[in-house]
Amino acid sequence: MEANQTHSGLTRQTYRRLVYAIIGVGILGLFAGFILDQHIAGTVIYLLGAWIGGAIAFITPKLSSAKLQDERDQELHNRASGLAMGISMVLGLSLIPALYVLDAGGYVNLSGAPGGAILTASALFLLYGVCFGVVQRRN
């Protein structure tokens, strides 16, 4: 039995703060650009924040000697994803097919933003189904 008591390098707390701060700056930049009518600058700041923050979030745990993520993080992520998908599925499956039928019958008009949102949700469910099938085949 042995326990290495040295804790060097990036800590989990610093890692999280760094990622959230960079992505937060990107989101603030996007809103600032929108409010100040500097859309290109806002978009560039947002993309930089999202890409740099995302890259740090993805790469740092692989390079750092400190343990920044583990099986519990994966479990929490899986549970949150499952819950979000479950809620979306229940709401989506209970509404979307009926809306398509009503649209075909001319009772509702699924165009514009609502139509786009429903199409996006349908695509998300389809993507989930494909991903589930792939994961199921591999396990």
Partner: protein, 67 residues
Amino acid sequence: MKNDLSAQREEQDLSQGDLAQAVDVTRQTINAIERERYDPSLELAFELADFFDCSIEDIFQPDQDEA
């Protein structure tokens, strides 16, 4: 699932951080296991048992209603 991880760890005079580093997880995970808010994977349970040189059942016990 109930566990005696906290007692086992304190018996060895280890901090949560020490144990986390020894079994290659985060301190938060050890804390969550000790508070019985997270059931570790079988792999981690084996690692913990191996670390304390005991069997898994010496650390983890099923809840009464699960048994």
